[in-house]
């Protein structure tokens, strides 16, 4: 908690400055509502925002889990074969270059409106950092430990499951942490094009509020999506901390 106080002080200053600027220059609620206006708007729409948060969090978590599963498995698979690695890794990199907003409409065509499209968008943007970090972690396993496993006549599967993947855990967790934030971003983008207005998730709330000119609600919804991203990020960090704290330097700093 003590480590957080510079952040808190800075945030408080920022919001105070914002509030003062709105009070001084009166840009109008449509252009820039004051933090207090956003807060009261959020309070008034709390039912809507909570429901949206729940929907987006569910989709982001599902997308994140798929990305984690696919990313770790694909990373492990690519580490086993240099043919696959040379063939597939550039394609995976390409996948990361495709703007998610551009393929989201195609996802709607394939998966239809609703949860599947949103989950797919989240998984697509989140999978690459997991894959890349898993592969990197596996490939940087200490060669001296590899030699130990050679002396002990370990099978290829034993080498992967008992040496490479455990040794790659710090990098895998780094990849998962990046993926956690990206999953929420992918979700909101997916929701822009592929969600039902009747049960609006955060992305849809943002769009509707924008059309209605309710800038305060847009900002409140943006803050809500930040909460979803932060919660997922914190959960992954916590799991990583408990997985690594006993043996790896990165997990010992609290």
């Amino acid at each position: 908690m003590r480590a957080l106080w510079p952040t808190l002080v800075l945030a408080a200053l920022l919001f105070a400055g914002w509030e003062a600027a709105v009070w001084l220059f009166e840009p109008g609620d449509y252009v820039l509502p004051a933090p207090s206006t956003v807060t009261s708007e959020a309070w008034r729409s709390k039912g809507l925002l909570f429901a949206a948060l729940a929907r987006t969090s569910l989709a982001a978590t599902l997308g994140f889990l798929i990305a984690a599963l696919v990313g770790i498995s694909a990373g492990a698979l690519l580490s086993l074969s240099s043919f696959l690695r040379r063939g597939l890794y550039p394609l995976a990199t390409l996948l990361q270059m495709v703007p998610i907003i551009a393929i989201a409409p195609v996802l709607v065509i394939w998966c239809g409106y609703g949860l599947p499209t949103v989950v797919a968008a989240a998984a697509i943007v989140a999978v690459f950092p997991v894959l890349a970090n898993t592969l990197d972690g596996i490939r940087s396993t200490d060669h001296r430990l590899h030699e130990l496993f050679t002396v002990l006549r370990a099978t290829r599967a034993q080498r992967l499951l008992r040496l490479e993947l455990p040794a790659a855990r710090p990098q895998i967790i780094t990849g998962l942490r990046i993926a956690a934030g990206l999953a929420v971003i992918g979700c909101v983008v997916g929701e822009f094009v592929g969600s039902f207005v009747s049960d609006p998730p955060i992305g849809t709330v943002i769009q509707t509020a924008m059309r209605e000119g309710r800038t305060a609600l847009v900002l409140a919804a943006v803050a809500t999506s930040c909460c979803a991203g932060f919660a997922l990020f914190a959960a992954v960090s916590l799991v990583g901390h408990f997985m690594l704290r006993r043996w790896h330097e990165s997990g010992m700093r609290s």
């Binding site: 001296r144 430990l145 030699e147 130990l148 496993f149 050679t150 002396v151 002990l152 006549r153 370990a154 034993q158 008992r162 040496l163 455990p166 040794a167 855990r169 006993r246 043996w247 790896h248």
Partner: protein
């Protein structure tokens, strides 16, 4: 019932023999036409300056690298050649090489668990080896909580857990301070006397060579191979041995051979 490891069907030491062995690594001749042999249960030390090929020869004995010419064989106590994989060879490296996420006990049990021994059996046998190497109280600690000497003791226990017929040690205690190294040398000789495995020990310290070896092979640089084959005195190897006159005599012979590198057998 304790399940035997996949290989290593008998207990006790084996002999080994090098016949006209030549090894080239990365285009450089490391060992050329080297021949020697050792009996079952022997303790042989390879000593020599850096780059003389002692580690290479040790790795070849453990089938970690291939030889370009000649023949390396493992032999039963009566001299018959053993098939590849019929005996059990263990390796101790220059570093402990422990998996940082496993406890001392699980590290020591690793060779058994990779060979398919059930977890509880493997851990029970590893616990026995850890008490043998003096770590009965540190079983549940992770490597990072252990000192360098204790980590090396875990590595030694891991090498012993498969009841090796041949134990190959590559400067295992070189990174430790003098006192720790002497303690571990004594522990190793005691284990050798107790368990009867054959060992080959690589070091660049002539004092360690004189203490560990029944026989010391001094190697020369420029692929000259074994330049001196010295039998050490037969007295018991405990801490007191270092103060005996025979030890001083053995040490002087190794030093002379190292300096002149001319005392060809």
């Amino acid at each position: 019932m304790v399940t035997a490891p996949a290989r290593g069907s008998f207990i006790g030491g084996i002999g080994w023999r090098l016949e006209e062995v030549s090894i080239v690594l990365g285009g450089r001749r490391i060992v050329e036409q080297c021949s020697t042999q050792a009996a079952a249960g022997s303790a042989t030390v390879l000593v020599g300056p850096s780059g003389c090929g002692k580690t290479t020869l040790l790795r070849a004995l453990g089938e970690l690298i291939k030889v370009q010419a000649g023949h390396i064989s493992h032999r039963s106590a009566n001299g018959a050649e053993l098939a590849r994989g019929a005996c059990h060879v263990s390796f101790c490296f220059q570093e402990p090489r422990l998996l940082p996420w496993l406890s001392a006990l699980d590290n020591a049990a690793l060779p058994l668990s990779l060979a398919g021994v059930p977890r509880e059996d493997a851990r029970a046998r590893a616990a026995v080896e850890l008490s043998r190497t003096g770590l009965a109280d540190a079983k549940e600690l992770l490597p990072r909580a252990l000192s360098g000497g204790m980590q090396m003791r875990v590595a030694l226990a891991r090498a012993l857990v498969t009841t090796p017929n041949l134990l190959l040690l590559d400067e295992p205690f070189a990174a430790l301070d003098e006192l720790r190294r002497m303690q571990l040398d004594e522990a190793l000789r005691a284990l050798h006397a107790e368990l009867g495995f054959t060992m080959v020990f690589v070091t660049h310290s002539s004092a360690e060579a004189a203490f560990i070896g029944d026989r010391v092979l001094v190697m020369g640089t420029n692929a000259r191979g074994i330049v001196a084959d010295l039998a050490m005195s037969a007295s018991a190897r405990n801490a007191a041995h270092r103060t005996r006159e025979e030890f001083a005599h053995d040490l002087a012979r190794i030093e002379r051979a190292l300096h002149s590198q001319a005392e060809v057998p």
